[in-house]
Symmetry: C2
Subunit: 346 residues, 2 copies
């Protein structure tokens, strides 16, 4: 028994108020041309009976539910928690509610998002894929409104919103070069599924910047294949320092890695940024509060959420004048370098 099945229907209200169900419907939906007296009588009947509209019936009749699905790997990952928070808020602005699905690492679950078999009573889907990838682009050609996020897939036949990984990483290095650093280590070059695409793109940005500046990147100063977490960063920093090659800066592929790297540096008696400058990526909340505060790249999460919901609404037919034959769009959001103490000092 669903919430709304209180037993009282519009017909009951209509009978008590002495009007037709059409009139009751008009009152509920705020139809303007109603005699105030009629409206009051209907409202009184609604109140006295404790009537609530059955949203499922309305949905069936209208052919839409106002529900969108957000499919992400795991809420325990702070990046996705924040993404979900933002998407929910953007959806609420458009009177949409969000059904949240975590597929964890599971390939089948991820495929199922694109299949959308059973519980498909949602009007659209926002999907941040991880495993399903570049070699199966045709899977993204679905018949429901779909917007994908992230960097696992490019060129899929559906709308796509993603951050500028390459340019962001390039900006990290350019910033370090600008403050005079030349011996730059790189942390986070992983080949696991969750981070591989970001890692590769960001590494590309790093090498682009180095090449452009004529600074060489020492392969012995590149570390990866640890989780993108504080402990991961701490360990990778240890590994690099143990190699005994002098460095004056570290580029980290996310902030958690950077925070971990900083703790190792400080623990080993090095000063940040005087001895070694550190820069992260993501601009998480902690970055502004840790000591020293952490320089980072803000990838524009708000804009990602806003754009994703906007594109989805267009595909869902909620935006007047949108041409439904518009081909798949690929939107890159704006990033911003946030310089803080870990590179420029106090």
């Amino acid at each position: 028994m669903a919430i709304n099945t209180s037993g009282v229907t519009m017909r009951d209200v209509a009978r008590v108020a002495g009007v037709s169900v059409k009139t009751v419907s008009n009152v509920i939906n705020g139809y303007r041309y109603l005699r105030p007296e009629t409206k009051a009588r209907v409202q009184a009947a609604i109140d006295s009976l404790g009537y609530r509209v059955n949203v499922t019936a309305r949905n069936l009749r209208q052919g839409r539910t106002g529900l969108i699905k957000l499919a992400i790997p795991d809420l325990r990952n702070p990046y996705f928690a924040q993404l979900a928070a933002l998407i929910i808020e953007e959806a609420a602005e458009r009177s949409l509610t969000v059904l949240l699905e975590q597929y964890h690492g599971d390939r089948d679950a991820e495929m199922a998002v694109l299949q959308n078999d059973n519980e498909s009573f949602v009007d659209g889907v926002v999907f941040s894929p991880i495993v399903v990838g570049q070699d199966q682009l045709e899977l993204f050609k679905v018949r429901f409104p779909l917007v994908i996020l992230g960097e696992s897939v490019f060129g899929a036949p559906c709308d796509h919103v993603t951050m500028r990984n390459i340019e962001g990483a390039k900006a990290q290095v350019e910033h370090l070069l600008a403050i005079g650093r030349r011996h730059i280590a790189v942390i986070g070059l992983n080949d696991d599924h969750l981070s591989v695409s970001s890692a590769l793109l960001r590494f590309k940005g790093v090498t682009n910047a180095m090449v452009a500046a004529g600074v060489k990147l020492d392969p012995a100063l590149v570390a990866g294949n640890a989780p993108w977490t504080r402990p991961g960063g701490a360990q990778l920093m240890d590994d690099i320092l143990d190699r005994g090659i002098p460095i004056d800066a570290v580029v980290c592929f996310n902030d958690a890695l950077a925070l971990g790297a900083m703790s190792t540096l400080i623990e080993r008696g090095l000063s940040v940024p005087d001895d070694v400058a550190v820069i992260g990526f993501d601009n998480v909340e902690d970055a502004a509060f840790t000591r020293p505060t952490l320089s980072s790249i803000d990838p524009g999460g708000h804009q990602i959420a806003h754009t994703a919901v906007k594109l989805l609404c267009e595909r869902m037919g909620l935006v007047d004048g949108f041409d439904h034959d518009t081909p798949a769009r690929e939107i890159f959001t704006d990033f911003k370098l946030i310089p803080r103490q870990s590179t420029i000092g106090t």
Copy 2:
């Protein structure tokens, strides 16, 4: 246009397969007594037409949606992100999907959860209230299945799942006493809405333990009214140390505070745990990875999620043999002390 409105209906399938819609329905819902040949013919028709069941129509007919709402303050708070992750997983085990709503600090939004006016096409609600509280218990007497979480409200006329705050905090102090500490500081006694109830309960547990052990609590060693975050903990620890009263232990009301407090202690040249032992509450993932690792209270998040969904399912009529006249239940989950380096060393 909802996803499932592909235009093809059961009637179309029935016509193509040369059977009645009842038979199509039987095939879709896995009814067992079907001639294999009939089944195959129907399946072929489904495939060739690309038919998908219209879940909204099914929901209307069945009077349920399989959807539950989870209302929490904000996903950006890691505690609630983890809670949401667990609830979604527990719900999935019972073939339920979760509609996630954030009400932020907004009182009206929180009230609306209990009103459940408009979009009430969910079968039940899990609600972690913050502002709506002890003085409005009657608001929790709703006509839809409702389970509340947390410590804002006790004795409400609906099912309630919560952790043992008092006993958990008592265990924190008992642990410190057991390792010989007597000069114990307390961090996190806030009076903001988000933490006040937890703070008061945990403080009560602390004082209970001190009284029982005959150890006095110096009011000058109690600090609060900072956010329950790392920087908050760092600042409060600074405040306490600045007062110049010697301490040998700190009880922190959550792990973020404890991590912040530890960083201050270490920064000021004190050893953890040799000079000062530190214990947190929540047992977040970081607790096991920070150096020194952080002793903490595991409040049993998995059990909270499991129990909440179980109670809700009972109220939703999904559990055979459940007596619907069962009065409102108050369930306390089990906590566990996790001793780590920050109290017992390596």
